[in-house]
């Protein structure tokens, strides 16, 4: 199978006051198309930073990131933005819906960015699919946490991305709601055949993927097959 994500010798440091803080070092791994993959580790192990780098949200200090066949550390920020729009989907821990847009508008935005004329129609279908057919015109503040995350899932799948990054998708939800969201995420993923990368510290969630990468102190501890 073709590689959708190829990471080689990644290193990332941040300036913290006057000294340099190494967040990630010597990271190399690959993910194949349609694979489901989890990155786990304790707080401060560099999970989220790694996710951000993989999705092209930030530049590494050194190393190589190849996403969907494109070497993204050579691309400009705008080129990376266009690549994200074309190929990448996101689910965030705190949902990150745009508060000034309705549920439907939030789902439609990535499609509209592509110039898709059917953005609203597809958005409605997706919202119905996640069980929010009656909440099109509600603003995020009028929705519960679980409902907001379902809108976020609909938005993530709206562009039929090649790869979906989920950052602690259940982190802000209670156990029961979290469970339902995970089920929805996995079923949507199965249906669309998208590659899924989940960052979590929840081993139960991680075990639902095919492969688990364990991080500690910014380095890879081990890679497990489930």
């Amino acid at each position: 199978m073709a590689k959708i994500l190829n990471i080689q010798n990644l290193k990332k440091t941040y300036a913290s006051g006057s000294r340099q803080l190494t967040v990630l070092e010597d990271i190399s791994f690959e993910i194949e198309e349609k694979e489901t993959f989890a990155i786990v580790g304790p707080s401060g192990s560099g999970k989220t930073t790694l996710l951000g780098l993989c999705a092209g949200l930030d530049q590494p200090d050194s190393g190589k990131i190849e996403l969907c066949g494109t070497l993204i550390n050579e691309l400009s920020e705008d080129k990376r933005a266009l690549l994200r729009n074309r190929k990448v989907g996101f689910v965030f821990q705190d949902f990150q819906l745009i508060p000034t847009l309705t549920a439907l508008e939030n789902v439609a935005v990535p499609l509209e960015l592509r110039g898709d004329k059917n953005a609203t129609k597809i958005g409605k279908e997706l919202l119905e699919k996640v069980g929010l057919g009656d909440r099109f015109d509600h603003y995020p503040s009028q929705l519960s946490g679980g409902e907001q995350q379902r809108v976020a899932l609909a938005r993530a799948f709206s562009t039929k991305p090649d790869i979906l990054f989920a950052d602690e998708p259940t982190g802000n939800l209670d156990e029961e709601t979290g469970q339902k969201v995970v089920e929805l995420l996995i079923s949507l993923n199965r249906e669309s055949g998208t590659t899924l990368v989940i960052v979590t510290h929840d081993m139960e969630l991680a075990k639902k993927t095919q492969r688990i990468l364990k991080l500690k102190g910014g380095r890879i501890l081990e890679t497990l097959k489930v």
Partner: protein, 848 residues
């Protein structure tokens, strides 16, 4: 990889701008309010000035009653008569002078302007009379047309008699309006129109009387009046006559009101600038709250440019709507001005809407918002999509060069706008410099203030006072921006206040117990004793008895006046060469005079040349210095003098001042008349004195200064009303800026308060911390602003108004505590919800 392109075009950006704005309506209100107020202030003044100018130009012919007028204070000599004949002869002529009028059978007397009319006057406009037929009939019927207000005041009816000098005429009608009589002055000397042929009978046209002759002309429509003016006027000037064309009159009049307009425009501009600060501060909060959404949009694939443009378009639209509302408000407000100002305006102002002003207002709304929003908007360019992942430590600093460019753009905008208003690049640069200096001083003060606290931190204070002080210089503090906003607002408001003080102080009249309030002009030398006796017989004092000798300049520094006139390179001002000077002689300086140069000589000394004293403006206009020789023609006799001293004269004082003062011992025997002054306690004694004087001495002109004072007070109160009105805009905008500034910091403060509460702080402790912090901010900002404005007003007083400026305490006692209370009130009311609600609710709210 193949080239990828975002498909979302302008339409999508517009759509995003709209739907995002729809949900943020409330937050954009502050922003919109700043624009609406600023634009309304500028548009109302601008549009009204345009209307005034236009109306003056439109009505210039009927204001004057002719295409052009030739006037003189002497009977025209042969040369002037020849010119008038060659121009086809006047259509109408007039002889006019001020005189006391009595109304036999009626108690009143009044100083009036007698205008003897012959011919088809007015050539434009009309005589409005009651009954209307009187305008035509007064010539044949040999009656007088008397100012309508005067008739009302004195209870005179048509058919009553009026006595001017030795002439008694029936009153033919009430005069409501007449070209050539300005409404404002008619309350001092209201016009009385009589047939020209009867003037002789008054017996008031004598040598030495102040008489004006006017000749009204119609011009060939093809005649270029400006060129005509340039050709004819110098010849007439040389022959003691003057040409006034309707175009030059309207220009002169326009200029007089233009200065007033410029001042009001500056006030409006200050309101606009405050509005700009309001915009920058409102957008600053607005964008800060949007940065998360921008990060998410970038995650979803929006480019830098797209996310920037969404908000730029949004702001342009708000600027457009604000501009439209502001322009509409301004146009509506200007309708008020003619009602308030009608007495001091020369024409009836019909309000019209000028497309140019409307366009300017709306364009200004858009430009202003975009320009002042650019800097805060730049944050959207640099926000990293990583912020959506809660990785917060990657915020890039904004590009220094871009910030400088924006700043340059803002100053260019202010400069161009100031230039457009003032039409003088030097003043505009001063204006900009003033603003830069003010900003730097305020910023510097805020900086020093924070440094001082850090150095001398009162670590022994209690927790509450310590914490509130600490808040001023925590990381990412807002102290600088708040002190700047509060300081600038206070600075502008108090400068406006001080300037108003200056303006009013300059024109206000000291109500000194000894200063005269009635002036008797044209008292003949042989009458002075009898007049004094009449005054004394009414138990009133004669305060001054000033001799007046009229003369004109014959030679200046050895060159004859004619020679100087023909010398095109001469810079000597024309009025020096043709003016009939009313001079006096005395042995000492008076209170309105100050010696600038030379030595005051009170008595004639030995030597050929008489040492005289001239006023500073005379010396400047005549280009003479101490020791220079001036020869005067005193009714045929040549007097050789030299400049002995130069005086600074405060012409604004309500007393008789002179350009030229002789020492005693020279002019005593020259033909002269006298000016006597007295002080009357009330209306009744004024009327009684006037009546007995007019009866005995018909040639004496009486000016009741109390009337003049009332008039000036009226004008000033109208003007100050207008200034207050414009200041009100600034103050209102200032409050909006304040709210914006406090809300800017609210965002950050909430988090700290929640933390404090979570750690167990009581509500009253948090309240105290907040109140104290806002108190410090209000105090330092307002105090700096007021002190700076004090300095700038002192400079303004010294350099521009040339008067000593005694600041009032009101800004310190009212404005300072007022601003502090306002800052505290706005600050606390914006934080009340935070103090009241339990921490968890706030934490949740904030996390969304």
């Amino acid at each position: 990889m193949k080239e990828i392109d975002s498909k979302a075009g302008f339409k999508w950006l517009l759509k995003m701008a709209f739907r995002d704005g729809k949900a943020s309506k409330r937050k954009l209100v502050l922003f919109m309010a700043s624009i609406v107020l600023g634009i309304a202030a500028v548009v109302s003044i601008q549009s009204f000035s345009n209307n005034l100018k236009e109306n003056i130009a439109l009505q210039s012919k009927s204001l004057m009653g002719a295409d052009y007028i030739i006037d003189s204070d002497k009977i025209p000599n042969k040369r002037v008569s020849f010119i008038m004949d060659s121009l086809g002869g006047p259509e109408a002529r007039e002889i006019n002078f001020a005189s006391m009028a009595a109304f036999p059978g009626n108690e009143g007397t009044k100083l009036v302007r007698v205008r003897g009319i012959e011919g088809n006057f007015p050539l434009y406009g009309e005589l409005e009379t009651e009954p209307a037929s009187a305008a035509k009939e007064f010539q044949q019927e040999a009656s007088a047309l008397v100012d309508a207000t005067l008739m009302l005041q004195l209870g005179i009816k048509v058919g009553d008699k009026i006595k001017i000098g030795n002439l008694v005429l029936p009153v033919g009608g009430a005069l409501k309006s007449v070209p050539g009589s300005a409404a404002i002055f008619s309350s001092i000397a209201p016009p009385v129109l009589v047939p020209h042929r009867l003037i002789e009978k008054t017996g008031l046209v004598q040598v030495g009387s102040r008489i004006g002759y006017k000749y009204y002309f119609l011009a060939d429509p093809k005649l270029d009046l400006e060129k005509f003016d340039e050709k004819i006027d110098p010849i007439l000037d040389a022959n003691d006559a003057d040409l006034d064309t309707h175009t030059s009159t309207s220009e002169r009049m326009g200029r007089r009101y233009e200065n007033f307009g410029k001042f009001l425009n500056l006030v409006a501009f200050i309101a606009l600038l405050l509005g700009c600060i309001g915009i920058a501060s409102a957008i600053h909060i607005y964008i800060k709250e949007k940065l998360r959404s921008v990060a998410v949009l970038k995650c979803l694939g929006a480019t830098k440019k797209q996310s920037f443009l969404i908000y730029l378009i949004q702001i342009a639209i708000i600027g457009l709507v604000g501009g439209i509302f502001g322009t509409a408000l301004g146009l509506a407000l200007q309708q008020l001005f003619p009602f308030i100002l009608q007495d001091i305006l020369p024409v009836d102002v019909a309000i019209a809407f000028y497309p140019r002003t409307i366009f300017m207002g709306i364009l200004l709304g858009v430009l202003m918002s975009l320009l002042f929003a650019l800097y805060p908007l730049m944050a959207t360019l640099y926000v990293s999509p990583l912020q959506a992942l809660r990785v917060d430590n990657t915020e890039k600093s904004k590009s220094g060069r871009a910030a400088l460019l924006v700043l340059g753009g803002i100053f260019l905008f202010i400069f161009l706008f100031a230039f457009w208003l003032l039409e003088d690049w030097k003043y505009s640069i001063f204006f900009i410099l003033g603003i830069i200096i003010t900003f730097s001083l305020l910023a510097g003060t805020a900086h020093l203030f924070m440094k001082a606290i850090k150095k001398n931190f009162p670590s022994r204070w209690g927790f509450v006072s310590r914490q509130s002080l600490l808040n001023l210089f925590r990381p990412q503090n807002q102290t600088l921006i708040l002190v700047l906003a509060i300081g600038i607002g206070t600075f502008l408001i108090s400068t406006l206040y001080f300037t108003k003080d200056l303006l009013l102080a300059q024109s206000s009249l000291e109500a000194q117990a000894k200063s005269p309030n009635m002036i008797l002009l044209d008292v003949q030398t042989e009458q002075q004793k009898a007049v004094s006796n009449t005054i004394n017989s009414q138990n009133l004092p004669v305060l001054e008895n000033i001799p007046i000798v009229t003369m004109s300049v014959e030679n200046l520094k050895g060159r004859s006046v004619n020679e100087i006139r023909e010398d095109t390179t001469s810079k000597v001002n024309g009025w020096i060469l043709q003016h009939e000077f009313r001079t006096t002689y005395r042995d000492s300086l008076i209170s309105s005079e100050e010696l600038e140069e030379g030595k005051w000589i009170g008595q004639k000394t030995e030597g050929n040349l008489i040492p005289i004293s001239v006023s500073k403006n005379f010396a400047e206009d005549a280009e003479v210095q101490i020791g220079d020789q001036i020869d005067f023609n005193v009714q045929g006799v040549l007097l050789s003098t030299k400049v002995g001293s130069i005086r600074i004269v405060d012409w604004s004082r309500m007393q008789l001042n002179f350009s030229v003062v002789f020492p005693t011992g020279v002019l005593e025997e020259a033909p002269q008349f006298r000016v006597l002054t007295t002080k009357v306690p009330d209306e009744n004694s004024s009327a009684a004195l006037q009546q007995s004087l007019v009866e005995k001495f018909p040639n004496v002109t009486i000016i009741d200064l109390r009337q003049v004072l009332t008039l000036i007070e009226q004008i000033l109160s109208k003007i100050s009303w207008l200034i207050n009105f414009m200041a009100f805009f600034s103050i209102l905008t200032g409050i909006i800026v304040l709210i914006g500034a406090v809300r800017t910091s609210k965002y950050q403060r909430i988090k700290e308060n929640v933390l404090l509460r979570t750690l167990g702080a009581r509500s009253d402790q948090i309240l105290k911390i907040l109140a104290l912090e806002y108190f410090y901010l209000g105090l330092i900002g307002a105090l700096t602003g007021i002190l700076l404005s004090l300095i700038s007003s002192l400079l303004l007083g010294y350099f521009v108004f040339e008067t000593a400026f005694i600041p009032s305490w009101i800004p310190f006692f009212v404005l300072l505590p007022g601003i502090i209370v306002l800052v505290m009130g706005i600050g606390l009311s914006n934080s009340l919800s935070v103090i009241k609600s339990p921490p968890l609710v706030v934490l949740r709210k904030e996390s969304r």
